[in-house]
């Protein structure tokens, strides 16, 4: 009886995906051990986070896409309301209004949007699949823009970027015509100066710093300079585990969270980077295959968007640490210390597994 139940729970688990995720998590733990040597509590806290994430993944993998679809509009609506609540009553931490105090615990509603956004858009496109017209894309764009702007205003550029990316992926995968894509791309380029004007000072500074980190070596440029030194000094084989001087002498800020890749890269070198890139690529490839084989429009779009968002995390984080992208608060997926992103990501992976295990449902 118990064995059968266990079997039922394990059934939707995708072995390949789990193996890859496990590999990345293992690398992450090894790196976190080195990065948080001065704060060993972080490692056990991360184990707790991983436990929670695993449960979330299991739960998500048990939910059939049809059920998920039913939850899409309410999830989006709740997320949106919470974002408005944050804008009105949120707590200010580190100069940004991101947290909503619920008395018992504080939550970051923007995190919910990372899942709710692709859910909602996939749901919308699925509903309109037969009669998809240009104005549907416009409505989708509006559904995308409102929460994104709310998040960007907190300000939380990293999360806004990820939420917007997730939404854009859905729209792209839904088949937005190339003419429109090119047209939008061109007008986006044209409106860059306008967007520049809308950025906060610190955001502008980050972008300028990327172009010339030496201009402010102890201020805004410090993160980039030190993390590039860490990556570069790692060399081909790396300095060896626990031997990163940039890490252990505290030259790398945020070394267990957003900048953990600098630690990894310093200690494991180009070889380590190749391994991590390969694992991420395998995960993304597996996810894209799942999406491509998904039975319904909804599950395809959702799976595709989830995978590409995962890619966005990885690319933006590594690009930022190695100094080709501006500093935005995006963690290295499955590696950076912290529960929030981990739970969100594992929920997405659970969804991917669910999509994979339910691929034949429509036909039967």
């Amino acid at each position: 009886m118990f064995e059968r139940a266990l079997h039922r729970i394990a059934a939707p688990i995708d072995g390949t995906l789990l193996a890859i995720v496990g590999g990345v998590i293992l690398l992450g733990l090894i790196t976190l051990f080195s990065a948080s040597y001065e704060n060993p509590g972080r490692l056990s806290a991360q184990f707790a986070n991983l436990g929670l994430a695993f449960i979330v993944m299991l739960v998500a993998s048990q939910i059939p896409p049809q059920t998920l679809m039913r939850f899409a509009p309410p999830a989006y609506l709740v997320g949106l309301l919470l974002l408005i609540a944050v804008a009105l009553f949120g707590d200010v931490r580190n100069g940004a209004r991101r947290w909503l105090n619920l008395g018992v615990t504080s939550i970051q509603p923007s995190e919910i949007m990372k899942i709710a956004m692709p859910l909602m858009l996939a749901w919308y496109f699925h509903k309109r699949e037969a009669v998809l017209r240009m104005h549907d894309y416009a409505i989708a764009a509006l559904l995308l823009a409102v929460p994104t702007l709310l998040i960007a205003r907190q300000p939380d550029l990293g999360t806004a970027l990820l939420v917007a990316a997730a939404g854009c992926y859905v729209i792209f995968l839904a088949g937005l015509s190339w003419k429109v894509i090119i047209g939008l791309g061109a007008s986006a380029l044209a409106s860059l100066p306008f967007l520049w004007g809308m950025l906060h000072d610190y955001q502008r500074k980050r972008i300028l710093t990327l172009l010339d980190p030496g201009e402010d070596p102890l201020g805004a440029g410090y993160h980039i300079i030190q993390s590039t030194i860490a990556v570069g000094s790692g060399g081909f084989t790396g300095k060896g585990w626990l031997n990163g001087t940039q890490t252990h002498l505290e030259f790398i800020p945020e070394r267990s969270t957003d900048f953990i890749f600098a630690v990894y890269s310093e200690e494991f070198g180009l070889i380590g980077n190749m391994l991590l890139l390969t694992l991420y690529l395998a995960l993304i490839a597996r996810g894209l295959v799942i999406a491509a084989n998904a039975p319904t429009f909804f599950s395809r779009l959702l799976a595709g968007a989830i995978v590409l968002t995962f890619f966005t995390y990885a690319f933006v984080n590594m690009g930022m640490v190695s100094g080709i992208l501006p500093v935005v608060g995006v963690p290295l997926p499955l590696v950076s210390y912290g529960g929030t992103a981990l739970v969100t990501l594992s929920f997405g992976i659970g969804v991917l597994m669910s999509v994979q295990s339910n691929r034949k449902l429509v036909q039967t």
Binding site: L173, G175, I229, G232, S233, G235, F251, G269
Partner: protein, 632 residues
């Protein structure tokens, strides 16, 4: 309908898969971009970033060596180091220094003199990383600051070695002092190519032996490679090259003798140099008044500085080394020797002294009204008869005098191991031509030779030169280079590098002539001008009194009515050596504005000889009041 819908689904799936394919390609491109970046950073630019990381990580910290000690010939420590806590401010890291000091003053005693000194250091020691606001903190103050340290970024406590001169003023002009390195010292360090050895060093010898032997005393700076974290805190030491402590100086100076002399001087001004004739080793080197060298170590406060600089007594003036005075009658033994060596006089040849010598319509007077009567060479020295030397000078002529006298080192640097030695003036026709511009000034007048004969006129020598000449005469014409350092001791190996007695030259003279002079000088102390001072001496000695005329107040000195009269008074001089056979000590002493040499200077010489030869310390100062005697 069903068929069409199926086809539609099929086409949708196909379109979707195309989009997925495009997305996959985009992912590949993006990862390729990252990979290229990694190769650029980790392979192509690896060396550059490796160096950057090492620079981040490793900081080279100099370890200042202990400065060598200075001890006298008996091992008494004259200069040493001790460790103490200082409170230091890093001017570069403190936004408002004034405000910081005010806040510091609330927890630690900061006196106005500390503030003034700090301001002075701030101006002088440009580019110094940290400067002391307070030295020698008490344990309680250290604890109080430590508790409040978080309030004072850029301010910290440091343990430092301090120079200490335990005897203060005693022998201060010989020791000199160290002070904080200033721009001029930096230039010297650069010239000597010592920059790396002076990293971490704040102090440098400024005068005296501390200056002359700077290179010996300083030692070799060590280095520590320290791994530092991002906050600049040292995490661990990677490698360490230990510093080598500076060498100790062991002096020829006898501190007790020095003390005897300085006590004897009391608050009178003057100088005394005592030399061991057979080696040139300086036994006592006195210039009064002295100063407390300890004042200079942490940077002197402006009030003390002004006091030392504006005092009429000029305590910073090293009179023994740089002061030049007419030698007065102490010149006569050398004149007499010149007469014997040139054959102008025999010892027994006598003249009649009527109390004056008339030359070119001018009358040169003797001390003694009515004259000394018949005077031979012995008597001329014993009673210090001027007329004898007026005629002798006239007979010798200036060229002959300067040629002979010059051999004793008059008017030339002795080469003692100190910087800034005075030269003085050995008058000659050549000197006068060099000295003056106008032809009528350049001409040497025969009348000028007469004054030179009794040690006045253009004659001007340092007390050190007088002592060296005395030692040379006592040593029968063999001149040694005077030196204060006996040997240099390597603290680590115990190796001693002796300063070998350096015979500079042997003046070609007949021993019988030298003996005539020495006998006469012995007569001075037994039956002549020095007899009273040397009454009942338990050893044989030779001496000569002298009085040097003070012509005018030096330019730049303040006019002070009560002091002027005293400062117009003649300087008292005495030269001596003892014992007569195989002299162990020769000396010259000068007491400024003290009048006749016999009463003011000779008793000091007596005390020196008593102590040095018999170990007897004087029971009371030589003269109670500074204007002990008048007369000439």
């Amino acid at each position: 309908m069903k068929f069409a819908e199926f086809r539609n689904t099929e086409r949708d799936l196909y379109l979707f898969q195309v989009r997925i394919g495009i997305a996959g390609a985009a992912v590949m491109v993006a990862f390729a971009l990252l990979f290229a970046r990694f190769i650029y950073l980790q392979v192509i630019q690896h060396d550059y970033y490796h160096t950057k990381a090492e620079d981040n990580r490793i900081s080279i910290v100099p370890i200042t060596p202990n400065r060598g000690n200075i001890v006298d010939r008996n091992g008494v420590v004259l200069a040493r180091n001790y460790s103490a806590y200082t409170l230091e401010i890093a001017p570069g890291k403190v936004a408002d220094i004034e405000k910081t000091i005010n806040e510091l003053a609330t927890i630690i005693d900061v006196r106005p003199s500390d503030r003034n000194r700090f301001k002075r250091l701030l101006i002088e020691a440009k580019g110094a990383e940290t400067l002391p606001i307070r030295a020698r903190l008490s344990d309680e103050e250290v604890a109080r600051f430590a508790a409040n340290r978080y309030r004072f970024p850029g301010v910290d406590i440091r343990a430092r070695l301090f120079r200490q001169y335990p005897f203060g003023e005693l022998a201060s002009h010989a020791m000199g002092y160290i002070g904080r390195i200033n721009d001029r010292d930096l230039t010297w360090i650069e010239e000597q190519d010592l920059e790396s050895n002076y990293k971490g060093t704040d102090h440098i010898g400024k005068t005296g032996l501390e200056q002359k032997y700077e290179r010996e005393l300083h030692g070799t700076t060590g280095y520590e490679q320290v791994e530092v974290d991002a906050a600049g805190r040292g995490v661990r030491t990677l490698s360490r090259t230990a510093p080598t402590a500076g060498n100790n100086l062991v002096l020829t100076l006898d501190l007790t003798l020095q003390e005897v002399v300085e006590t004897a001087f009391g608050n009178r001004r003057g100088a005394l140099v005592a030399i061991e004739p057979s080696t040139g080793g300086v036994l006592a080197f006195v210039s009064k008044p002295g100063f407390d060298p300890n004042l200079f170590v942490d940077g002197i406060d402006p009030v003390s500085w002004d006091e030392l600089n504006t005092s009429l007594d000029r305590p910073l003036n090293n009179r023994a080394l740089t002061g030049v005075y007419p030698p007065g009658s102490t010149f006569k033994p050398y004149m007499a020797l010149a007469a014997l060596e040139t054959g102008k006089r025999t010892p027994s040849q006598a003249i009649f002294d009527p109390g004056h010598f008339d030359f070119g319509g001018r009358r040169f007077r003797d001390d003694k009204v009515g004259g000394h009567g018949m005077v031979d060479m012995y008597k001329s020295i014993v009673v210090s008869c001027d007329t004898y030397y007026y005629t002798l000078a006239n007979d010798l002529g200036i060229e002959s005098i300067s040629r002979f006298i010059g051999q004793f080192g008059f008017g030339a640097r002795t080469g003692i191991d100190m910087e800034g030695e005075g030269i003085g003036v050995l008058p000659s026709i050549e000197w006068k031509t060099r000295r003056f511009r106008r032809p009528d000034q350049q001409k040497w007048y025969a009348g000028e030779t007469i004054s030179v004969g009794i040690g006045q006129g253009y004659n001007a020598y340092t007390p050190l030169q007088l002592a060296v000449a005395m030692a040379t005469l006592a040593n029968n014409g063999v001149m040694f280079k005077p030196h204060l350092v006996k040997y240099i001791e390597n603290v680590n190996t115990g190796e001693r590098r002796f300063v070998e007695p350096q015979p500079l030259k042997t003046i070609p003279m007949k021993q019988e002539n030298i003996d005539v002079i020495k006998r006469a000088m012995a007569g001075v102390n037994t039956e002549g001008t020095g007899a009273r001072a040397f009454a009942k001496a338990e050893y044989t000695s030779g001496g000569k009194t002298g009085t040097s005329q003070v012509i005018a107040i030096k330019a730049g000195e303040k006019y002070n009515e009560s002091r002027t009269a005293e400062r117009h008074r003649d300087h008292a001089l005495f030269i001596a050596f003892a014992p007569l056979e195989a002299p162990k000590i020769a000396l010259a002493v000068l007491v400024e504005n003290a009048g006749f040499g016999a009463t003011a200077a000779a008793p000091i010489a007596r005390m020196v000889l008593d102590y040095y030869l018999l170990g007897k310390k004087p029971v009371k100062p030589a003269a109670a009041d500074e204007a002990a005697s008048d007369g000439g």
